[in-house]
């Protein structure tokens, strides 16, 4: 997993609420057996028409917008547990998603793949989306160490929450398995006294 420290980038505004993982990566593209290459199918049916031509009204096809931060409407990532959704966003080039609410499983999957979910207040999200829409080059700074999202242009500075353990993992590029493997003795001892039918 890539290490995460501070990110400074313009962002892409996706105003829809309740973006589900079937939109992020439709099920018919889940047949790959590796983690790579899902970026080309990211938001497939919103991004491309049936002939495979880019749909001009979808935000990722608007050349005014660029950057490694996706700013999305409330309840991003609901639905299926497919980690392919996180893989597709990372493969496409996103390093962080900002929203006012994330679905649980998606949030966990993102953190396990070095994709930082940044939860901000609904009012900040609204301001942020408006600022990016009026100036696509609006710079957003995400400082993981300080747990701050800053948008100097519109005077936003907001603290965001992240589990301290997950923060350490992201900063150092560790994953949970390394940690769990180091706990094997405790796990075996637990199993010995664990009763199960």
């Amino acid at each position: 997993m890539e290490k995460f420290s501070t990110l400074l980038s313009p962002a892409i505004p996706l105003v829809q609420e309740n973006v589900d993982t079937d939109q992020i990566i439709p099920a018919r593209f889940l047949k790959a057996t590796s983690r790579e290459g899902f970026g080309e199918h990211l938001f497939k049916d919103w991004r491309f028409d049936e002939q495979g031509h880019p749909k001009s009204d979808f935000i990722l096809n608007n050349s005014e917008y660029s950057g490694s931060i996706l700013v999305a409407g409330e309840n991003f990532g609901c639905g299926s547990s497919r980690e392919h959704a996180a893989w597709a966003l990372v493969d496409y080039g996103f390093k962080a998603v900002v929203s006012s609410y994330f679905a649980d499983i998606f949030k966990g999957n993102a953190l396990n793949n070095g994709l930082l979910p940044v939860q901000v207040s609904p009012s900040s999200l609204k301001e942020l989306l408006a600022a990016i829409q009026s100036n696509p080059m609006t710079g957003i700074e995400i400082d993981l160490e300080a747990q701050l999202l800053r948008v100097p242009e519109i005077g936003i500075q907001e603290h965001f929450e992240i589990n301290p353990y997950k923060k350490t993992c992201l900063i150092n590029g560790y994953d949970d398995i390394d940690f769990l493997l180091s706990q094997k003795e405790k796990i075996s001892a637990f199993e010995l006294k664990h009763i199960e039918f």
Partner: protein, 469 residues
């Protein structure tokens, strides 16, 4: 202070608590399938480690198996590769696999309970969000991502943040023609698609207690559709009777011991939930969804909200544009193109019986293509043994082999663009059943009545007095 059912089961599986309050949770059973496991097996190989305990893993192929000609090689090359890879991985790591053609093959959330693998008090995970189904037995069961599948393979544990608790009480008696699918669609329509996020839900109340195990599974199955981590129901006599005698159920002295333990699994009277909701069963109509997430549901006689009635009219309009529907309209009399009966939500024997009971001696409407995909080989065999297959066949339903099928359109069972599919599955997202497909989620009875009438109708108007409630 007493404990909730969830806390009793969860606490019984805590190995340790670490930095930031994360807990190491021991996992009793791990179900795997072909879509979310290959990258996890790869990870295990790359790390050069083995599985923590192969005997705690149960595998099946369900998501992209074909539902026709299951004895032939899978035509779609990528699907075949993925299913073959599961077989190969299970051979290499010596894992029990109920693969295509096996008498126990089926949708992972159908076969777990029917084999008696799923039991009260367990922790159960699977790389699939509908793992919440198993909570109907009083298990803590939830869906995980592939990185976590690898974690469980490697350590039999997950590093997790303890969810909050929520109780949803449904008291009263369900009306004629109202099923557990209507209860859960009703709850989600009230709480929205994110109303349960961060919470583990317990369903309680007299309406829940009166349900069969299969009906309870339907409710717990869709917990994720309101964003909840999982859903569970305290085990009772109905639960014990369902489990007894199944392949992996305890027997003899062990059964008695299990029963003694399982009987302690309920929320204490003084237990405190972070959130609580109470609904009345009498308020629940047959439900149908009109939009593009499972929270966009209504009683079948109600009208679609107008733009003045919702917080975000832009979202409503976008959704209705996709669905080809109008704000404020009724869905009644909307012609339907397809009826799909299947998925981990409603593909069990009771669901098939409800459909067969209704369509016996009737014919599906000419404008409707109706197909039934049983949840497992065992459900399929049982349906044949009970003569349901003949009834359904004569009514013009196409009968397929088991799998996830048109619930998510990973195999060839896709609904064509802009066509309406009345479906007993769990998700009505854009493109879920195929690019451009328009999904209306309902109960099996509602689906059966609509298949015969060819348009959206209130099923209660078509029931005779002795119809099962």
């Amino acid at each position: 202070m007493g404990k909730t059912l969830f806390e009793k089961v969860w606490d019984n599986h805590i190995v340790d608590t670490v930095d930031g309050g994360q807990e190491i949770l021991f996992i009793d059973r791990h179900f795997i399938h072909e879509v979310t496991s290959p990258q996890a097996f790869d990870g295990i190989r790359k790390r050069g480690i083995g599985l923590y305990d192969k005997n705690r893993i149960v595998a099946t192929a369900d998501h992209n198996v074909p539902t026709k000609d299951q004895h032939l090689p899978i035509k779609d090359e990528l699907s075949r590769l993925q299913v073959d890879m599961l077989t190969h991985n299970c051979e290499e790591f010596d894992i029990d696999l109920y693969g295509l053609g096996h008498k126990n093959q089926g949708i992972v959330h159908v076969i777990g309970p029917e084999l008696g693998v799923t039991k009260p008090g367990m922790t159960i995970v699977c790389g699939d969000s509908h793992t919440s189904t198993h909570g109907a037995f009083g298990a803590v069961a939830f869906g995980i991502g592939t990185s976590q599948v690898e974690q469980v393979m490697a350590s039999q544990c997950l590093l997790v943040q303890r969810p909050k608790t929520m109780r949803i009480i449904i008291d009263g008696e369900l009306g004629n023609g109202i099923y557990s699918k209507d209860i859960i669609l009703y709850i989600i329509s009230k709480l929205s698609t994110s109303g349960g996020t961060g919470h583990f839900v317990e369903y309680a109340g007299s309406a829940i207690r009166s349900l069969s195990m299969e009906a309870r599974m339907t409710i717990c199955n869709m917990s994720i559709e309101m964003g909840a981590r999982g859903g569970m129901i305290a085990p009772d006599q109905t639960t014990f009777e369902y489990i007894k005698g199944r392949e992996y159920a305890p027997s003899g002295q062990q059964w008695e011991e299990a029963l003694a333990y399982w009987s302690t699994l309920y929320s204490d009277e003084d237990a405190v939930f972070d959130k609580e909701y109470v609904f009345n069963a009498e308020d629940i109509e047959p439900m149908i969804t009109y939009g593009t997430n499972p929270g966009m549901g209504m009683g079948i006689t109600q009208h679609i909200p107008t733009t003045q009635e919702v917080e975000r009219p832009d979202n409503l309009l976008q959704s209705l544009h996709y669905m080809g529907l109008t704000p404020g309209a009724s869905l009644l009399n909307t012609p339907v193109d397809h009826v799909f009966i299947g998925s981990c939500t409603n593909s069990r024997i009771e669901d098939l019986r409800i459909v067969a009971d209704y369509v016996r001696g009737k014919k599906k409407a000419d404008n409707v293509q109706a197909f039934i995909v049983p949840g497992s080989k065992q459900v399929e065999a049982q349906a044949k043994a009970e003569g349901l297959h003949d009834i359904l066949f004569e009514a013009g339903f196409e009968l397929r082999g088991p799998g996830c099928s048109a619930c998510l359109g990973m195999n060839e069972d896709k609904i064509p663009k802009m066509e309406y599919c009345v479906s007993t599955s769990n998700r009505n997202y854009e493109g879920r059943q195929g690019p451009g497909a328009r999904t209306l989620l309902v109960s099996p009875l509602t689906a059966a009545v609509i298949a015969v009438e060819g348009k959206v109708v209130d099923p209660r108007k078509y029931l005779n007095e002795e119809a099962p409630a």
